[in-house]
């Protein structure tokens, strides 16, 4: 589903990704781990098409398409979803409006009709229940005055409603207490399916207790230095990132 080859990216003069390779197949859950500043969030941003990141070399293929040639909104409509590390607040635009506009935007290229107000509400209510979110959130401005945990839940709610083919979760676990982490993990787990891929970017092993990955990769110094299964994450927890980054030095 996602094939990244020799990806180089920089912000300004600073080179962040330096020849990253990654293959993610349909139905798989991959965890990208690594120390602070290793390029994890840059990878998520480049895949979603955030401005300010310059790709200087390499290719990213998504469902047979050249992902890097697509605008951010085209990527979203093609089924790529990024759960933000720091979701923005947009007072004046309410959550319901954003959700509905986003949902209709991704349904169109899938050949699905727009949902009417009742169908939409029924769908959202069901997903909100799963995320243990109060319906009052719908009429509030996007993330306006939400706590850190509420923002992260809202990201996962959007993901559940939009049902992407490729979900990128950028440090979704950061700032969550254990109860919120479980709710978020349950949300993500309901999306696991044979035709969907999930890439989790995380600093800590903790999230992987609840969302068990098929593959674990260690990203450091702009490249994947080591890949393995679930055991690799546990090993990292015990031995620290130095164990990988030091060994590769």
């Amino acid at each position: 589903m996602l094939s990244i080859r020799d990806l180089h990216a920089r912000i300004g003069e600073r080179k962040i990704l330096k020849g990253l390779n990654l293959e993610v197949g349909a139905g798989e859950v991959h965890a990208i781990m690594g120390p602070n500043g290793s390029g994890k969030s840059t990878l998520a941003s480049v895949l979603a098409g955030r401005e300010g990141f310059e790709v200087t070399a390499g290719r990213v293929e998504y469902l047979g398409q050249d992902l890097l040639a697509m605008e951010p909104e085209e990527r979203a409509r093609a089924g790529v979803f990024l759960a933000f590390q720091y979701p923005v607040e947009i007072p004046g635009v309410n959550n319901a409006y954003l959700l509905k506009a986003a949902l209709n935007a991704v349904r169109k290229p899938r050949g699905l009709p727009e949902l009417d107000a009742f169908e939409f509400l029924a769908l959202v209510r069901e997903k909100m229940k799963l995320m243990q979110m109060d319906e009052a959130f719908l009429s509030r401005g996007v993330n306006e005055g939400f706590s850190g945990g509420e923002k992260k839940r809202n990201e996962i709610l959007q993901m559940l409603v939009l049902e992407p083919h490729l979900a990128l979760l950028d440090e979704t676990d950061s700032g969550l207490d254990i109860d919120a982490l479980k709710v978020v993990a349950r949300g993500v787990n309901t999306l696991r399916s044979g035709e969907r891929a999930i890439v989790l970017v995380t600093h800590y092993q903790r999230l992987l207790d609840y969302i068990v990955p098929d593959r674990v990769h260690v990203l450091a110094r702009g490249r994947i230095l080591r890949s393995g299964d679930r055991q690799l994450a546990l090993e990292l927890e015990k031995r620290g990132y130095d164990w990988v980054t030091g060994a590769a030095a």
């Binding site: 979803f81 635009v93 309410n94």
Partner: protein, 441 residues
């Protein structure tokens, strides 16, 4: 009906014309001697004052043929519970107004405007700042003075003590600026404890290049309540000037909400005096400009009486090659002990050649004051834009949503549902938004 003033005249011609009454001629001479505002005058530098002295200022004596039909087409849906009074080119149109004038309203005949006692108020007789020219009238009020001299008809709304009224005054400009100018004149008096819901609109007949010089004076007596909505949506080739002078009595509460989105160039001057003890003023304004529009506003709020409160909020968006300017001047006079003043000015640059000028000014002559102010000019927030794009929303829609979000707070303050819908639709259209604003609330 025929147009009774067929000869288009400039100010100097009007002043020396034999057809002008001696009182009017004296006012015009005084204004001309003192001089019209120019870009060199502090507080006028962002306005479009080009060739003001060559502008046709002569008013019409009667409504021009065809103007009523053109004006009718420009009228929005009536507001429930409001009596509508329509003026076309500064002249009352009984045909377009909703029947008889309400009890609170009377027409003021030509030439009597400056003679109405008390309506100028201290804002005129005692200049707010020592900027009075040789004419004795401060430069901010010079166009107001010209309005008083030239308005063919004015409207006086006087709400008696303890009474309530809801009135919509629509000024439609329908005649080309090369033929005549429109001088809308409105004088509002709220007696003790009176309540007035006032909607003041300035609209234009489709595709006519008009020139308006409007003047509004408000006296809000002790314990009165004013909810004043001011909407300027003139045609894209028109030129608009307006002056508002307001004075409050003890404990009066005024809320003024302004949405200015029309005209090729518009200048709004507001001189607001909180004279009474513990009176309050909420001022919320939105200015939108696109293409080559110039939308300039100067608002001076003066605290005179003790314990008065005011809040001033401005949100402006400049797109295309337009200019949006807001000059918010707050003065706390000696004796205005315990004044509280809050100012928040924000402008959004939505075009690479657009210009936004915000100028917060604070002048305080007393110690015991709470005053805060902030002014920021910025572009659309990249993070927010990316967030919306990453959810599959088209770029044009995402940008419109963010602009909408920028001004939504002011729109949300409109408590008259139909007016709010109309205003939101107007804002959305001006933002060229492909968004369904009905769903955004």
């Amino acid at each position: 009906m025929n147009t009774a003033s067929p000869i288009p005249r400039r100010l100097d011609e009007l002043a020396s014309s034999t057809g002008t009454s001696p009182e009017r001629a004296a006012l015009l001479h005084a204004a001309l001697a003192a001089g019209l505002p120019t870009a060199r005058d502090e507080n006028w530098k962002y306005a479009n004052l080009r060739a003001l002295d060559r502008q046709v200022f002569s008013p019409l004596d009667s409504i021009a043929v065809g103007a009523v039909a053109a004006a009718r087409a420009a009228l929005p849906e009536p507001l429930e519970g409001f009596t509508r009074i329509v003026f076309v080119d500064g002249l009352h149109s009984p045909e377009l107004s909703g029947g008889e004038l309400p009890a609170a309203a009377t027409l003021i005949p030509a030439g009597s405007l400056s003679a109405v006692p008390g309506t100028h108020g201290p804002a005129v007789t005692q200049p707010a700042t020592p900027q009075a020219g040789s004419g004795g009238v401060p430069i901010e009020l010079r166009l107001s003075q010209i309005n008083a001299a030239l308005a063919t008809q004015g409207l006086r709304i006087a709400v008696p003590a303890g009474a309530r009224a809801a009135i919509e005054v629509v000024f439609v400009a329908a005649t080309d600026a090369a033929v005549a100018a429109s001088h809308p004149a409105l004088q509002v008096e709220l007696a003790d404890g009176a309540t007035l819901d006032l909607v003041e609109r300035h609209l234009g007949a489709a595709d006519v290049a008009t020139f308006t010089n409007a003047d509004v004076r408000v006296q809000a007596a002790r314990g009165s309540h004013l909810h004043h909505h001011r909407l300027q949506d003139l045609g894209p080739r028109s030129r608009h000037f307006e002056t508002l002078a307001l004075e409050t009595g003890d404990g009066a509460e005024c809320e003024i909400l302004t949405v200015a989105s029309g005209a090729l160039s518009a200048r709004s001057t507001a001189l607001l005096r909180l004279s009474g003890r513990e009176s309050s003023l909420e001022w919320h304004a939105v200015s939108l400009a696109d293409r080559t529009q110039v939308n300039d506003a100067f608002v001076r709020i003066e605290h005179v009486g003790p314990g008065a409160r005011n809040r001033q909020v401005f949100r402006g968006i400049a797109a295309g090659r337009s200019r949006v300017a807001f000059n918010g001047h707050m003065v706390v006079r000696e004796g205005a002990i315990g004044a509280s003043s809050e100012q928040s000015l924000k402008a959004l640059l939505a075009g690479s050649e657009a210009e936004a000028d915000l100028r917060p000014q604070l002048e305080i002559y007393v110690d015991e004051v709470r005053a805060s102010h902030g002014a920021t000019v910025g572009k659309l927030d990249e993070q927010s834009l990316f967030y919306l794009l990453s959810r599959g929303i088209e770029r044009a829609t995402a940008e419109a949503l963010l602009k909408w979000a920028f001004v939504a707070d002011v729109g949300a303050r409109i408590r008259i549902p139909a007016l709010r819908r109309q205003t939101e639709a107007l804002l959305a259209a001006q933002l060229r938004a492909v968004i369904d604003v009905g769903d955004l609330r």
